[in-house]
């Protein structure tokens, strides 16, 4: 075993031993995200009580009827200020709802016009209009159903159709789109809160490095024949492993107590989790490199992490953001972490869906690490 590896291992083991030895801090690290996630899950999970989305809802329309009525309804829906309509085939609509890119999709069946007009005058059964919706955004479903009814009834009441419609001549067949056994609202809040508190842990690791410098430990480490890569790399490795341990424990509790399942790809989940753990570690390293005093650095770092977490959709789902902000937050790494964990848990997406979040998180981690190496002051301890 090379002496460099022995030294690297000693540095990593030291970080983990210190982390595990402080039982109270360990308990807080694990317990806090569980409690807060449980609270948010409860808050957002049940009824979806009457929130107003701040942006236009992206809704897909699959028109299998291609009738005058469905074309007219489509035109009418297109003019609705609260909707952003995209016409597309049914299977594509289903995929986009499943991946969270569409809030919902409406599927007009073949012969919808004939069946609906027949039902309206009492000569036939009501047709079923499928409403595919994202179960994490349950408040969207009644809104889209209401708007659909409103626009269909408006069109049916015009002279070129049948006159005055008084009752809704179709059924809405609500279909929650997820490959998992069923949607679990705790899954999203566990993703969000894990990300928030692991980033806090990353900050603590950065602050600990600043303290090591203040207390002379860093000077002592640098006296050993170790390269900068070993000294900084071991910090990243230690913090990454701690973050992975926290994520593992939090999700084990989430599985056991709140029935949060990895309905998608387990390797994909592990990939996203590891990439995010690396991001938390490099964030801490960057903070240590840029920070001067412990007090000031802690304040600025906490503020930055809270902003990152908020924009990442960890507190409030990002679909509630204004449209422009939703695009802006695509440049926020936490957004990819939240989306990646969501994709692998309740959305039940395949391994391929983990590639983009993982690559982006690793990319941000590399950027943070580069900044840390560039700005790290090796002269003043």
């Amino acid at each position: 075993m090379s002496s460099t590896f022995t030294a690297f291992r000693a540095l990593v083991r030291k970080d983990i031993a210190i982390f595990l030895r402080d039982r109270r801090a360990l308990l807080v690290s694990v317990l806090t995200p569980i409690v807060v996630a449980a609270f948010f899950g409860f808050l957002f999970g049940g009824t979806g009580s009457g929130d107003n989305p701040l942006s236009r809802m992206k809704v897909g329309i699959a028109d299998l009827d291609h009738s005058a009525l469905t074309k007219a309804v489509l035109e009418s829906l297109n003019q609705d200020a609260s909707l952003e309509i995209q016409e597309l085939p049914e299977d594509q609509a289903l995929q986009l709802v499943r991946s969270g890119k569409l809030r919902a999709a409406i599927v007009f069946p073949t012969d919808f016009e004939a069946a609906a007009t027949g039902a309206l005058v009492g000569t036939g059964p009501m047709p079923d209009v499928k409403l595919l919706y994202d179960p994490s955004q349950s408040m969207i479903r009644p809104m889209v159903a209401g708007l659909l009814s409103q626009h269909v009834m408006q069109r049916l009441s015009r002279p070129n159709f049948i006159g005055t419609a008084k009752a809704i001549p179709f059924n809405v067949d609500n279909v929650a789109i997820t490959t998992g056994p069923r949607y679990n609202s705790y899954a999203h809040s566990f993703a969000g809160m894990s990300i928030q508190f692991i980033l806090f842990m990353g900050i603590d690791a950065g602050i600990a490095l600043l303290l090591m410098r203040q207390q002379g430990m860093w000077r002592r480490l640098r006296a050993a024949p170790l390269s900068r890569a070993v000294l900084l790399g071991s910090r990243v490795a230690g913090t990454t492993l701690i973050a992975i341990m926290i994520l593992a424990v939090v999700y084990l509790v989430a599985r056991a107590v709140f029935d949060v399942r990895i309905a998608g790809s387990v390797p994909g989940f592990v990939m996203v989790a590891c990439a995010f753990a690396l991001l938390a570690a490099t964030t801490g390293l960057m903070i240590a490199a840029l920070g001067r005093s412990v007090g000031a650095t802690r304040g600025v770092a906490m503020f930055s992490v809270l902003i990152l977490v908020m924009l990442g959709g960890a507190w409030v789902p990002s679909f509630l953001f204004p449209e422009w902000l939703q695009h802006v937050t695509e440049f926020v790494p936490t957004r990819w972490a939240v989306d990646g964990l969501d994709a692998m848990t309740w959305r039940g997406l395949p391994l391929q869906s983990a590639f983009a979040p993982t690559a982006i998180l690793v990319g941000w981690s590399a950027l943070f690490a580069l900044i840390a190496v560039w700005r790290f002051n090796w002269e003043n301890d």
Binding site: T4, L11, R228
Partner: protein
């Protein structure tokens, strides 16, 4: 192993921390680096330990020039930092395992070295306790033990007795003397003269980043021509004319005034003391208290810099 500081210079921005420092430390000897706070001792130690690169000059260990970072030559050095650099939460043994690991030690070899340094520093019975439960002296000793695990031939001790009680200080001194007796080269920085007088074979006095003197204690005292020191305490402050008169007396080297206290350095105190007392009495100054002592390093430092170590 010989450790040579060859015209070291280091600046931090506009501030010159070390202007020009040169000296040589020899195996089996303790070299004292004495100077006030801010004299450049710690920066010099940082360069000697390979923590920072000199702007100019070099550090040589025998024929090898010391580098920074992963330079394997650093394996020959052991640094005891001024700050107690320990993992307070972990037991003493785990601290030693950690620091040994930094130098590639593991397994039985590491275990043997841990036992040896614990015995040397008299901490064997506290190996399972964390440093947070130790006294200041014990923590200092553990700090030294951590630097000895890899058996360095050169030991750099940067003010290793700060905040330590006299008993622990003596224990640390004894440990350092044992290490030097084993043939190690020891560089010891401090701003306590007593420590240097007690421990060091050779003394390098630095101030403002420069070497002011480099010699043995005897050589420094002889070279400064300070002789012995007479301190006279009066009710009132003797006037300038009186001081000028005694300054011109034969054998008087130096005269200083601090409040109502007059300090006179003289080569032959037996001859000079009665004359000084007589002249001042003739001018109406009646001596209340008189003490005499041999000149020490403080006097040498004062003579070299014009100030005391504690002024700074």
């Amino acid at each position: 192993m010989n450790l040579i500081a060859d015209h070291l210079q280091k600046k931090f921005g506009a501030i010159t921390a070390v202007a020009d420092v040169s000296f040589a430390a020899e195996p089996g000897k303790i070299l004292g680096l004495l100077g006030p706070n801010g004299a450049g001792k710690s920066t010099t130690i940082s360069m000697l330990a390979g923590l920072i690169k000199p702007d100019s000059g070099k550090v040589q260990i025998d024929a090898t020039t010391l580098g920074v970072g992963a330079d394997p030559t650093k394996r020959k050095l052991g640094l005891v930092t001024q700050e107690i650099a320990l993992l307070e939460e972990l037991p003493a043994r785990m601290n030693l395992e950690f620091f040994g690991g930094l130098y590639g030690l593991s397994g039985a070899a590491l275990g043997a070295r841990i036992a040896a340094v614990l015995e040397l520093t008299s901490l064997s019975d506290r190996a399972r306790d964390p440093p947070s439960t130790f006294s200041g002296g014990m923590r200092r000793r553990l700090n030294i033990a951590c630097a000895l695990l890899h058996e360095p031939q050169i030991l750099l001790l940067d003010e290793p007795t700060v905040g330590v009680d006299p008993q622990s200080r003596n224990a640390i001194f004894e440990t350092i003397e044992v290490l030097a007796g084993q043939g190690r080269t020891v560089v010891y920085t401090t701003h306590y003269m007593e420590e240097v007088e007690r421990l060091c074979d050779r003394i390098v006095i630095v101030d403002h980043g420069r070497v002011l003197a480099d010699d043995t204690l005897t050589g420094l005292l002889a070279g400064a021509h300070l002789g012995n020191k007479l301190t006279l305490k009066y009710d009132v402050t003797p006037d300038v004319a009186a001081l000028a008169e005694i300054r011109n007396l034969p054998g008087v080297v130096q005269v200083e005034l601090a409040g109502t206290e007059v300090s006179v350095s003289a080569n032959d105190l037996g001859t000079a003391a009665p004359r000084v007392l007589e002249r001042l009495a003739a001018r109406g100054f009646s001596c209340q208290e008189l003490t005499s002592r041999r000149a020490n390093l403080e006097d040498v430092f004062l003579a070299l810099t014009g100030r005391t170590l504690r002024d700074t």
